[in-house]
Each structure stands twice: as C-alpha cells, then as structure tokens.
C-alpha cells in the first residue's frame, strides 16, 4: 500500500513539475564509421590485442586446427561447449582430437559447483563483433548460457569476419535489435576480466576469465 503510494507520489511530483521542452537529439555524430572490411578487421584485432586478448586468424575450413592448437598450448584438460550449435557440432564430430568434452544440459542449480570448480575453458559462438572498441557480442541462449563465458578461467570465442561492425550503434542498427526483440541478456565483452582499482594499475582475471581467446573465421 505504502509502496504504491510511493509510485504515485513520485510520478505526481514529476508530472506537476515545471515543463521544459528540450531540443530533439542532434544526429550529427555518425552511427557508423567509414571502414571497409579490412579496416574493420584491423581495428578489431588491434583493440582486442591492446586489451590483452589473444586473436587467431583462421578460416571456416581450418578453425578446428586452430582450436586444437590453442587447447594444447594452454594444456587444457577439458573444454566446455554446446554440441547443439553449428560450431559446437563440428567440435563434437572430432571430439577425439580435443580435451575432455564437457557440456551441461540442465538448469544451473545442478551444475554450479562443477562449473566453478573444474572447468579449464569454455568455447562459445558470438553474435558478431565491434571493430571500434574490439568487442565481441554475445546473445546467450539455452545452448550457450551466460555463465559459460564468465566462470571458467579461459573463454574461447569464435567470430565470423563478415559479422564485424564498425561501431556498437552500427551493430544494433544493422542487426535490428529493436525489431528482433532483446533476449534475456546481451553481453559486450572487450577483453579478459580486469581491474585497476589498486593504484590504477591493471591486473587481469579478477572475477571473470583470465584469458579471452578469439578465433576469427
């Protein structure tokens, strides 16, 4: 009762306040940048590397070799991924070449302890990238829940070169997020977890992944 009053009181105060008609928003800042495919790739790479992420150039035909190489150099004992995505299905097909395959196909409550303790790395697909800031876009879903890109110490993400947009504004416009409708959660990730809370000195892997590895195809 009291709380409902709070709502009405606040809104009433705001509605009976003095009116001011502000100017409409100026659109003199372009949503997109005049970059070709190569420029976008270049910036995407440069920004991610500056943020301490690893970027591997591959193709749709040979990316599994790149992934295998990443797994062996990092000595990963296991890899969490979803076989239900097209990319995950490809890994599964050749699973004998990869570290132990992990997959959780039930609600988090049953796999929380296992996720927090014992997963070396997770692989996810992405919803594209942003060149200007070196960002990957994730739309977590039932196959690739949001925590798999957060809890394991290494996050390996696959980005399609044709899905790299120049800016964030460009991405949400071109992919038409408003019309598609926003999913439960969207994540923009621009490097491994970091903090500068002590003396403004950078340190990596504070709570999220210590390493972010991008495979470009």
């Amino acid at each position: 009762m009291k709380i409902n009053n709070a709502r009405n009181n606040i809104l009433n105060r705001l509605k009976t306040s003095l009116k001011s008609e502000s100017e409409p928003v100026a659109h003199d800042v372009p949503d997109s940048l005049d970059w070709g495919v190569d420029d976008r790739l270049l910036h995407f790479n440069k920004q991610l590397q500056a943020a301490n992420a690893e970027v591997h150039d591959a193709t749709k035909d040979n990316w599994l070799i790149t992934l295998k190489h990443i797994c062996s150099t990092k000595r990963l004992k296991n890899l969490l991924f979803s076989p239900a995505t097209p990319w995950g299905a490809q890994i599964l097909e050749r699973s004998y070449e990869f570290p132990t395959f992990k997959h959780f196909d039930y609600p988090i409550d049953e796999w929380k302890p296992a996720l927090f303790d014992g997963i070396d790395a997770a692989f996810t697909s992405t919803h594209g990238g942003i060149a200007e800031t070196g960002t990957i876009i994730l739309w977590p879903d039932t196959h690739e829940p949001r925590l798999i890109s957060l809890v394991p110490p290494v996050h390996i993400a696959l980005v399609e070169k044709t899905e790299i947009y120049s800016t964030f504004a460009d991405a949400l416009k071109t992919q038409n997020w408003i019309k598609t409708g926003l999913p439960t959660n969207i994540l923009l990730i621009s490097g491994p977890s970091k903090s500068a809370d002590i003396e403004q000195t950078l340190t990596y892997g504070v709570h999220g992944p210590k390493e972010l590895v991008i495979i470009l195809v």
Partner: protein, 472 residues
C-alpha cells in the same frame, strides 16, 4: 568559528599519504581521459549529443519511467518504487526475507551507498559482501568510497596488502597487485557460487525495451546479476533513457570520461529473468527505483540539470579541491563537484550548505562534464539559496544566513551608491593599511599560507583622478 565541516577539511589537509595516493590516481585518470578524447571537434560533437540525450530523457522523465515500468513488467522484471532510502532499504529487506536469505553479494552501486544498505541489512542480521575489488577493500577497512569510480583510490598497495593480510591470514603478505587481486578472486568465488541474492547498481535503463545496463571491468557485476537465483538492481529514478540507440553514445562518453577506456570489458544488458527454456540467470529480477529528493530537484528548471549526471567521475578528477582534500573530507556519499551540488539538494542545505563553499568556481568540472552540467552556476545558485529566505523548495534554504554578514553586505551595497561615503571608507582603510595588514596576517586562513596582499597608499579612485581618467 571552526565548524565540524572545516575541521574535517583541515584534518584531510594533514593526511599526506592519502593526498599523495589521491593525486597519483586522479592524475592518471586525467591523462587517460585526455588521450581518449584528444580530438576537440569530435569531443564537442559527442558532448552535444550526450547532453541532448540526457536532457531530453530527464525532461520526459515521468513518461519514460511509466514506459520503463510497463516494459520491465512485461519482460518479467518486478519494479519497486521508493520515495526515501528507508523505503528502498525495506524493499530490499522484504525480498531477502521472502527468500530466507541471510547473505547478499553486491556489485558496485553508489545508490546502495546512498541508502546505507549494508548498515541497514546488518542491523537486520543480513550480511552484505562487496565484490568489486575497490569496494571490497574499503569494506574491509570499514570506510566509505572516496571516489565514485575508483572507491579505494586513497589507498596504496602497501595499505591494501596489510589489510588483506589481516583478513585473509591464509594468504602470505604481498604487495604484488596481481597477487592481491587473485586473493580477492579466490576469496569471492565461493561466495558468488553460494549467494542466495545478488545486488547491483544500474548505469542506464532503457525505457523502450525495458533493459537494465551495467558497465564494469571485473566481471563481478555479471556474477552478482547472473549466478544467484535472485537479482536486485537499485537505481536512482533519473537513470532512464528513451531509446536503445541512446545507449552507444552515452556508453562511449561514460567510459572515455571516466577512465579513458573506449569501452569497459563488460557491458551487460539485462532484459528479463531466466526464461523457462534457459539454463541459468536469476529466476527473479527486481528493480528498486529510488527518488530520495530527485523529484524535488526536478521541479526547478535550473537545478534539474543536476539529474543529467552519468556518474563518470571526470569532474572530481579535474577538481583542484578534490585533489587536495580527497573524497572523505566532503563527508557525503558522493564527493567532488557533483557531490557539492547534489548532496545539499538531496539532504538539505542545513546539513550540507557549507559544502557549496568547497569550490573555487574555476569551471574545470563544467569543461570536462560529458553532459555539460553547469556545476559552477548551480553552486552559485545554491550559495545564494543557502543564505536567503526564499520560496525555493530545497530543504534548509536560508539556514546559512548570518546577521552580521548580512549587515556588512547591506552597508557595502549602500556605500556603493553613495560615492562620498564610499571614498571616505576607502581613504580610512588606506590610512590604516599597516594595521590591517598585520590583522589579516594573524586571522586569515588565506594569509596563513600565502603572502599578505599589500594595500597601496592611494585608492583606485584617487589614482584615476590623478591620471585625469574619467571616473564615473
């Protein structure tokens, strides 16, 4: 008389270590910002755009809040309204109690600081644990944040090393920043996994889609909002924007102004609780919308600009006073120039009226503010409201009025329009210049640390006359 407030400032000025730490960090933040916004023309355009977005959103605040509530509710997020911090605390407590939760893990939230939430919940037997590295440091030290972006900027690695060694005795003493961060990671991981409730702030709320946006680097905000079965977000009512397309420009300005980053590591957009076919994420998401004086500020078109703030902290990084006295001397939740205008309006000039004097009006804050808040102009306005009885609705208006001061100004104003008297006073002061010099040297806080200005033998009017310059 030295007031409590001035005593705090004097004390702060003796804290050499805090001063050194503060200067070190704000200088770095300033350099990073400058590097990120070096193109002046670009910066002006971006600022115009961000200012327009925020001004427009604030002007449409009641409509946008209703739209936001509608959309969030449709999306399954529960919206709660609080007029006061007490109500907001009660709402959080009730949610906690409904889940029999005795522990909440927190992401960084200045609104929760404004609510005094940790303290309130503790009094009700609920433990709050901060998970942002900076917030954790100050929680362990039992202090308040001294900066809105870098809460523990007043502490150096040695102090933090001692603190961590006391609280995590199992980990060996180290001054290595990576090792310190890793002990926090280690300590908090289990807490994230077991917390029944996570609580975070909000950076932007998008009305047209019903989306809560969180900006962070560490991943603790993601942890708090995705691992526990219940997520509570707390926000001031002013954080709403109308369109999804408003978010990219604001995000760009926020991170560049705050730390010079082109984007933070994580930008987290939450539009609903876990859906039936999804495997993780909270089953319940709550948003607590806090007023606490904001709707009152809203009613004054000049003061309304205060609500445009996106909490980037640039104004404090560029404030000559903040740099010297540090955040704690302000004795407010939000320090620095934005705190100077916001806190007296929220809590009353009777409490924080003196704060309006903590400014040289140099205008640096206005120069760097990404949403062009005219901070010096608002400070001047508040100084005026502090000493006059007016119809304005800021609590405590007129509480700083002093009779003697008022009389002195009246005499001064009167003498200004009576040239004979004015010139007489001028001559008398000039005659007594050596005595006045000695008195000034003894009593003034200004002359205690600076050379006393020397009064000349002739007044300005006398000199003009001697130079045969017309003196009207």
């Amino acid at each position: 008389m030295t007031t409590e407030f001035r005593k705090h400032i004097q004390h702060a000025l003796t804290q050499r270590e805090v001063q050194a730490n503060t200067k070190n960090v704000v200088n770095r933040l300033r350099n990073h910002r400058r590097a990120a916004l070096s193109d002046q023309a670009d910066w002006q355009r971006l600022r115009r755009q961000s200012t327009a977005i925020r001004t427009h959103a604030v002007d449409k605040l009641p409509q946008l809040l209703e739209l936001l509530e509608d959309k969030l509710t449709q999306n399954g997020i529960r919206v709660h309204w609080a007029e006061t911090t007490e109500q907001a605390n009660q709402i959080v407590l009730t949610i906690m109690q409904q889940h029999n939760a005795s522990f909440v893990i927190k992401g960084k939230s200045m609104v929760s600081e404004e609510m005094g939430l940790n303290h309130y919940l503790k009094a009700h037997g609920i433990e709050c644990l901060e998970s942002d590295l900076g917030e954790l440091i100050i929680q362990l030290a039992n202090e308040q944040p001294s900066h809105i972006i870098v809460p523990a900027l007043h502490k150096n690695r040695k102090q933090i090393a001692r603190l961590f060694h006391t609280y995590f005795p199992a980990t060996p003493y180290t001054e290595d920043i990576n090792a310190l961060a890793q002990s926090a990671r280690h300590f908090l991981r289990h807490k994230f996994a077991t917390a029944p409730v996570g609580l975070t702030g909000v950076n932007f709320m998008v009305a047209e889609t019903g989306t809560l946006c969180l900006v962070e680097n560490e991943g603790n905000g993601r942890m708090c909002s995705s691992v526990p079965p219940v997520h509570i977000a707390v926000s001031g009512i002013e954080k709403v924007v109308e369109h999804l397309s408003d978010v990219p420009p604001l995000l760009r300005m926020l991170t560049r102004s705050a730390t010079g980053q082109s984007i933070t590591t994580y930008f987290n957009m939450i539009s609903s609780p876990r859906k039936p076919d999804e495997k993780d994420g909270p089953l319940e998401v709550h948003l607590v919308l806090l007023d606490n004086g904001r709707s009152r500020i809203y009613n004054d078109l000049e003061l309304r600009d205060t609500l445009n703030c996106i909490r980037c902290g640039a104004c404090m990084n560029h404030c000559p006073i903040y740099k010297h006295i540090g955040g704690h001397a302000y004795q407010t939740v939000i320090p620095g120039p934005i705190g100077t205008i916001l806190e007296p309006q929220k809590s009353g000039l009777n409490l924080y009226g003196e704060l309006t004097q903590v400014s040289t009006l140099c205008g640096a804050c206005r120069e760097v503010c990404p949403v062009s808040i005219p901070i010096p102009k608002i400070i001047n306005r508040l100084r005026w409201e502090y000493i006059r009885q007016s119809a304005c609705n800021i609590p405590g208006a007129g509480s700083g009025k002093k009779k003697t001061e008022a009389i002195v100004w009246k005499i001064w104003a009167w003498s200004c329009v009576h040239p004979v008297v004015y010139n007489r006073i001028g001559r008398t002061i000039t005659n007594m210049r050596s005595l006045i010099g000695r008195i000034l040297k003894k009593i003034s806080a200004w002359t205690a640390v600076r050379s006393t200005p020397k009064l000349t033998k002739t007044t300005l009017h006398e000199r003009l006359k001697a130079l045969k310059i017309e003196d009207k």
